[in-house]
Amino acid sequence: MGFTGTGPTLSVAGLGKTFGPIRAVDDLSFTVRPGAVTGFLGPNGAGKTTTLRMLLGLTRPSVGRALVGDRPYAGHPTPARVVGAAIESSGFHPGRTGLGHLGVYAAQAGVDRARCRELIEFVGLADAGDRQVGGYSLGMRQRLALATALLGDPPAIVLDEPANGLDPEGIVWLRHLLRAFAAQGRTVLVSSHVLAEVQHTVDDVVIIAAGRLVHASSLTELAGLAAPETYVQSPAEQALADLCRARGWSTRPDGAGLVVTGVLAAEVGAAAYAAGLELHQLAGRGVGLEDVFLRLTGGGGS
């Protein structure tokens, strides 16, 4: 884990993939810079895994290209030493031990069995390394997949939904790990269908929906698109609704109260006070990043 330097830039240009009549990925272009964690986000079925598979040479693009540094993934002489990848659909032989699994792939990553043992300890599977993978939990498989990706100490790391199945402690551990990798100068790309899951990990976001790019920026810029939300509840429901309408605020019903978007709690409170309106609850919901995400990906429903 002693990497210092700069990871390769991952770049996707005009990438497209059609399965029969379905355009899984459509004219997709983005780059992933080294020294940062990039979140690759989109709802289920948006084309994330298909894109990653094309980036990693598992699936042939219908059009466009995907590069790792200056060439396609498969063009690197020892790709496992350039990109460490864990793809969601990848599996394990249930009858092989965790260490046995690493041992199989160690040869092609150019590392020995001592490195396998080091990694199995690193991902927290020291006690399970000699057990068959068939008895592993989903979280343990995720950790083993991560260990496999890290075999060749790669300068770029591509992980497909790595938080799936991890316990909260594991998620925190993964977050620190990915931050550390980025700080070392590695290129880190992590996919997820839940923004909240990676919100505290990523520097940049690439958001796709229905195979198309809908947004690519830093997380800070994405937050700039977000409006603050305030939850407010009053026994005088009609008066509250009238007040919001008079102020020109957009609202939506939420349980017994209303969610006011684009307005801070203090402002809502002041207006209610001025109107002599009794409030039973008033709470800021912070910036609704998840709502921005849903809006961008067309799943907002509003």
Binding site: L58, H93, A107, Q108
Partner: protein
Amino acid sequence: MAALVAEYRKLVSTRMWWLLLIVLAGYLAFIGIVMAASFVFAPEDESGSVTLEGVDAARAIYGLTNAVGYVFPLVIGSLAITTEFRHQTITETLLVEPRRGVLLVAKLLATVPIGLVYGVVGTLAVVGASAPLLAGWGDGAFLGDRSVLAVLALGVVVTVLWAMIGVAFGSVVPNQVAAIVVILAFTQFVEPIARLALGAFDGTDAIARFLPGAAADGLIGSSLFGELGGSGELLSRPAALAVLLAYAGGLALLGRFTTLRRDVA
């Protein structure tokens, strides 16, 4: 080279290879005893008997490694590919080795040591079970006979070839259940019937010789099948070797440009 090491480790890092090996040894020992006993203790006065005698009996029995045991190396070879698809390890495999032709060649070569072990153990099982019977009650075990030694050695060689053909077949039929069903159906049912049917007519018996099982008999130079009433005509050893290699190469090429050309999902 790294791919070769990886493929070899895949084969020996699960239980399957030695489980199948134990079954192979037990099965061949059992059949060896039964066959030897049937030759040794067969009533001699029966007219029209197909019972073999002397060195012919020894060769036919020692050839069982191929004649009866060949389904085992075929299956273990096919598993080298089909387990990758069944458990989706093919994804990781192609991540570390994106050159798919290299991968297939590595798999073909990595089964050679497994095929050797299967061949040696299978042959030892047959000989160990049948030689005492042949020597004690029959016409002799003939273990010093040159033609018998050739059968034994070529039995090992042909087992290696079967394992490689198994790999190549797996690359054409990567679905594990389908591959095993086809192997069992072909070896136990389709080919024996085809050999009988094709061998029954003058025009078609030449074709029967080119069936994989018949070619393997040709390489060994002993055909239990032929001795027991099937077509006795076999290919010469060099021709049989070429035919078996062609099966492995042809199927591997087919697999390379079908299964291994596709996107891996």
